[in-house]
């Protein structure tokens, strides 16, 4: 298994140098280069503050203030024909400035255009729910809370959606280890059998490449099976597993390969 390296500051330092590879930036265009987008942007700018705007991969990206989100989406839905919220979630920039970036992907079926609305919030800050505008935000905001711990003010049912209600920790944070923290490792054992069962059941085996030929508690001794817990000393004889006892079974005929016929014709 790959050795575990702490990921607390994974974003703070570059783990590659320009010498080898620089990830290319997707080129950005000015919003003025597209008529429809430009008109939309002007309509939003007339009422709300837009801190940044550009077109990237044929989509308009705008940055707004966190407090304006409900108003901006309401304006886009009712006046600019962006009637669908296809997706929303957060991006973890905690290591780089203690911030979350929240994005809302809007789709207009009439204009055939997509706009991404974005803003930053501080760590621990809540966002305004847009569930009253778009029903799809109901589950998206719950998932955002589940995965990042960002609460949405005004949401009717602000609870976890994927993880169990009594889960601790937010799995999509960059600092959350992929194989889980201590709470995750013992979650099912603690819940079903209690903490005192930890010693009996034992820790999770996370090393997928581990093979221990002296281990008889697990099943990976194909062809050399022994009863569970047997002390394995050396070379156990090969254990031919047969699906039937040698002297046969009452009323059940044993399959004999010699008597069987292999049909070659696939169309039979």
């Amino acid at each position: 298994m790959r050795a575990y390296t702490p990921k607390d500051d994974v974003q703070a330092k570059a783990y590659y140098t320009d010498r080898f590879y620089v990830s290319p930036q997707v080129p950005k265009q000015k919003p003025e280069s597209d008529e429809v987008f430009n008109a939309d942007l002007e309509a939003i700018k007339a009422k709300f503050e837009v801190t940044d705007a550009y077109i990237q991969v044929e989509q308009l990206v705008i940055y707004i203030n966190a407090n304006d989100i409900y108003g901006v989406l309401e304006l886009m839905r009712d006046e600019l024909e962006y009637t669908q919220l296809s997706e929303m979630s957060a991006i973890d920039w905690l290591a780089k400035g203690n911030k979350f970036e929240i994005f809302y992907q809007m789709l207009s079926m009439n204009k055939r255009k997509r706009i991404r609305v974005k803003y930053f919030i501080e760590n621990g800050q809540a966002v305004d729910s847009v569930e009253k505008l778009f029903r799809s935000a109901d589950w998206s905001e719950r998932e955002m809370f589940d995965m990042f711990g960002i609460e949405a003010n005004g949401h009717p049912f602000m609870k976890r959606i994927l993880m169990p209600y009594d889960w601790q920790g937010f799995p999509l944070l960059k600092t959350y280890p992929l194989q889980g923290d201590e709470f995750a490792a013992w979650y099912e054992v603690d819940k079903i059998y209690g903490k005192e069962a930890r010693d009996i059941i034992g820790p999770e085996l996370r090393d997928t490449a581990k093979v221990d030929r002296y281990d008889s508690e697990r099943f990976a001794r194909l062809g050399h099976e022994v009863p569970k817990g047997t002390k394995i000393t050396g070379n156990e004889p090969k254990n031919e597993q047969n699906y039937q006892e040698d002297d046969g079974v009452f009323m059940i005929k044993k399959f004999d390969k010699k008597d069987s016929v292999v049909i070659d014709d696939p169309q039979r």
């Binding site: 923290d181 059998y193 059941i201 997928t208 194909l222 047969n242 699906y243 006892e245 079974v249």
Partner: protein
């Protein structure tokens, strides 16, 4: 209606077969393994295929039941998430003794490729397992072979005594 003629002169003149309680009970048990419908992921598709006409589980007396109270064997077919772990324990406890568990596929055996925070790393952390089937996913033949091995295991037990309940701890 078919007319059966009993030959009272053969086998000492009696239409009787002698056997032991163990054998007759185990014969019945091993040939009527009712399985709990428990497809958790893609292995469930293979389990369904085993039950359908091409592979035809009914030949073995294996009929899928929708209730744990009617089932003898729990075929854990698929990935067990940590959220679902308490339910598998509850369903296992609801099954009547004697009961058996087949862990089907890599995910149920060890967590498989899901080496993550949300997956139980082997269903044997929750319930005792009688048979592990390797594969991702195992083919229906593997599952049927597994059921035949389970039948052999059932036949090897002493049925007359009160069977000791299997418990993880």
């Amino acid at each position: 209606m078919a007319q059966h003629k009993v030959n009272y002169t053969q086998d000492g003149g009696l239409p009787v077969a002698l056997t032991s309680i163990d054998k007759i009970v185990n014969w019945g048990r091993s040939n009527s393994i009712w399985a709990l419908t428990y497809g958790l992921a893609c292995c469930g598709i293979e389990m369904m295929a085993s039950g359908a006409s091409r592979y035809d589980f009914d030949r073995f007396g294996t009929i899928f039941r929708a209730s744990p109270r009617q089932a003898d064997v729990m075929i854990v077919a698929g990935t067990l998430t940590k959220k679902h772990a308490e339910f598998i324990k509850r369903l296992y406890d609801q099954m009547t003794e004697p009961k058996w568990v087949i862990s089907m596929g890599s995910c149920a055996n060890t967590g498989g490729m899901f080496n993550t925070y949300a997956t139980v790393q082997g269903v044997d952390r929750i319930i005792p397992v009688d048979l592990y089937l390797p594969g991702c996913a195992p083919r229906p033949e593997t599952l049927q072979y597994g059921v035949m091995l389970l039948q052999k295991k059932i036949r090897a037990n002493e049925a007359s005594r009160a069977q000791k309940a299997k418990r993880l701890m």
